[in-house]
Symmetry: C2
Subunit: 231 residues, 2 copies
């Protein structure tokens, strides 16, 4: 099962691509006409995507397997859409992404010359070496001195991909993401939701209510919240 799409009713059924059609203009890009695409191999998802105004890229069976990666699909897409110069891959599993995040990150490509920009969040995790289970071998600290442990406010933490978005130039996609000039875009933790396993759903629901993007107009009704009863 492809972890990117497990939550959807059809395997490998959906991911979101926001495609920004751009043309090089001297050393920088200018966005000519952004377009939004949904990549799917399923009729029902195609219908919903079109009803909401998105264009649809019908994924071929070759890039719709359980073992297919996002890169496989995006490579197919750019082959079929030669007018696209910059691709922003948005993951549906990160529902607190706002337009300003994408606008600022895209400018790092169009104005600062990076070839790949992706979202990260700052984590404060003390990591330890994995050892064989049940053995008597001691573990070792990887990023701390346990006898002189920094307080959170005295440690910058580490930057981790949060899976929200990845923006690439066409050239980066065509060469399989090798080389290039990579930059991260740091998102605040409140916007950084990643629905990965089932216990992430209640978290995401709470976060979307408070930090989600609802378009230019705010909705007039409360969203339903899943309250999990005691077992």
């Amino acid at each position: 099962m492809n972890p990117q799409v497990w939550a959807w009713p059809h395997k490998t059924g959906l991911h979101l691509c926001s495609l920004l059609v751009t043309k090089p203009e001297e050393s920088t890009y200018s966005v000519l006409s952004p377009s939004v695409w949904v990549s799917t191999d399923h009729d029902d998802i195609e219908k919903v995507a079109k009803a909401w105004g998105a264009q649809v890229h019908r994924r071929s069976p070759e890039v719709s397997k359980d073992s297919s990666s996002s890169l496989d699909t995006i490579q197919e897409f750019v082959r079929l859409n030669p007018e696209v110069d910059v691709i922003c891959h948005i993951q549906a599993t990160s529902p607190c992404l706002h337009p300003f995040h994408l606008k600022e990150a895209l400018e790092m490509i169009t104005k600062q010359g990076f070839t790949s920009v992706f979202s990260v969040v700052r984590e404060h995790h003390f990591r330890w070496q994995e050892v064989k289970k049940g053995g008597s071998v001691a573990t070792q600290p990887l990023n701390l001195d346990p006898s002189n442990r920094p307080r959170r406010q005295d440690w910058d933490g580490e930057l981790c991909e949060n899976g929200s978005f990845y923006i690439y130039t066409r050239a980066m996609i065509e060469r399989g993401l090798q080389g290039g000039k990579w930059a991260y875009y740091e998102m605040l933790p409140e916007y950084s939701v990643d629905i990965d396993v089932d216990i992430d759903w209640p978290v995401a629901e709470q976060r979307v209510l408070r930090f989600g993007y609802f378009g230019l107009d705010k909705p007039e009704v409360y969203f339903p919240v899943c309250v999990v009863p005691l077992q």
Copy 2:
């Protein structure tokens, strides 16, 4: 502000120590009489702790400062309680800890000869090097090859402290956690809640309902759930 206790009404007011009074018996320990202590410098917290059957360690002002660490307090405690041989420091910010976690982890000290056992959770975070903000320097991947990104199910991830508990022998505390034989105890993600910043509260509330420990008898009432209204 001490990050361990920020959520409580009194700064440096509360942490939980579960103290297991043990005596060496040949090469292993056997638990003689476990005892539960609350360490605090505040009268109200002392009252609540005693009402719930815990013993109280009155922290001195020297180890109750904003800059005090948990280790400072535990070192004071073991000086004042020479009969204690093994100390289990439980953090109130991890409310899904169950007795079986502590029982299994303690046996790693009493039966397997480790001097320190602490809880971890498996994380799957792709980390990137931090670079100066606003600059044009590219970042570098630290634990992945972006052109050959592993799928989650093909990568074991990394073991990170989840802050739930730390168990030490007296000798480890006395020598300031230097040296010793360290082991981790892996907790499943559903039990691994760490209340660190305010947006963690709704997550913790959801998790406690489903994965918390309510003693031998389950409660008969639903816990209130905080539903955050739209701003």
